[in-house]
Symmetry: C2
Subunit: 214 residues, 2 copies
């Protein structure tokens, strides 16, 4: 994928095609007082980018495809499975205190809570902080009293796009998502194979701008 | 900005120019057994995108400009000042308990700690959780004993790019940055005019893919 800044002329051509299409290249050239040859590269670029479509013997017409759809195409290719990190898990019976210790030792912002090997819930720093200042005995309270539990846990499947993960985190106001092998059906026992978080998205955002050869 | 997927032929042209440049359009056409006219749109696109440069009477040569540099150009245009949110602040003398309450009421992951109106430090959920399970009296301990304090606070100026903010958060492993009116000099009293966090970056990432007219 490459990024190209549209020239003023190319933007004008899009407007002309939008308002007058279908329209021939000759007619566009006339309206801009340019030769057809001068216009040819611009029309190629706009056609390739999907802004306008060319039909033989009819002319150019506006495709309705927008700039950011194209950006979206690029983002949609980034898969959760390419960016997920190792899930840090605890059993649902561990104490709040032990969960906090695990969180600090692993330096993560949330833990995935399991019953045997199946997802039961997710517990965040925020959940644990709420309990910790609540005055209860954090050495005795089990973590499953502090967690968000199924079916309220938002998960994402490994084959989804990272972009969808970002959308889910914003929509549901959570900082991380457990990654499941496939889309989770309600009531199903599911194993967790990874996690993504807002840190994952921030890393991907940084990568977008990093130097790499095509 | 528009995104274009390079065709196989365009990638081949880049390789030819890389290996044989400076090279004329005629010679490239010959190597590909194509006419010069067929090649013209491809060469226009590659020139516009900055992959190859054209010099009259010399030919095309490889610019060394890479794909992601171009992505970077787009990201570099997103300014901190366009994305920052309101800073949630507490005075350095408030208790850890009151800081936690503010954090929950405002639903933020970190607070900016001031002395009068000047930046003293930043305190995160992680910092407060550490103190909360430490067993001290959180109603008496002041927040400035739990915070990261100057000069160790990582800040960003409002005119920096959001991209630089993301890089700083990844490099220093922090979840948010106070935004200052200008670059912070050491020892200087500074007011805080905003904050960005990994949530801000996730929101920007989502926006990148959203539909909007050019």
């Amino acid at each position: 994928m490459i990024l190209i800044e549209l020239t003023k002329r190319q933007e004008t051509i899009i407007d002309i095609v939008k308002n007058h299409g279908p329209i021939t290249g000759e007619r566009i050239a006339e309206m801009l007082s340019l030769t057809r040859a001068t216009l040819r590269p611009d029309l190629s670029i706009l056609t390739m980018a999907g802004f306008v479509e060319a039909r033989p013997r009819v002319g150019y017409f506006y495709s309705g495809k927008k700039n950011a759809d194209l950006f979206g195409d690029a983002l949609a290719r980034m898969r959760v499975s390419d960016y997920q990190s190792v899930p840090i898990v605890v059993q649902e019976t561990v104490s709040v205190y032990d969960a906090v210790v695990t969180m600090f030792m692993e330096d993560v912002g949330s833990l995935i809570v399991l019953k045997e090997r199946f997802l039961q819930g997710v517990v965040s720093r925020k959940d644990l902080l709420k309990v910790a200042i609540g005055g209860g005995n954090i050495h005795e309270l089990p973590v499953n009293l502090a967690m968000t539990r199924l079916p309220n846990v938002i998960t994402i499947s490994a084959d989804a796009s990272l972009y969808d993960g970002a959308v889910l985190m914003m929509r549901h106001q959570v900082d991380s998502l457990p990654v499941t092998p496939k889309r989770l059906e309600s009531g199903e026992n599911v194993e967790v194979i990874g996690r993504i978080s807002k840190t994952t998205i921030t890393r991907a955002f940084v990568e977008l701008g990093q130097y790499h050869e095509i």
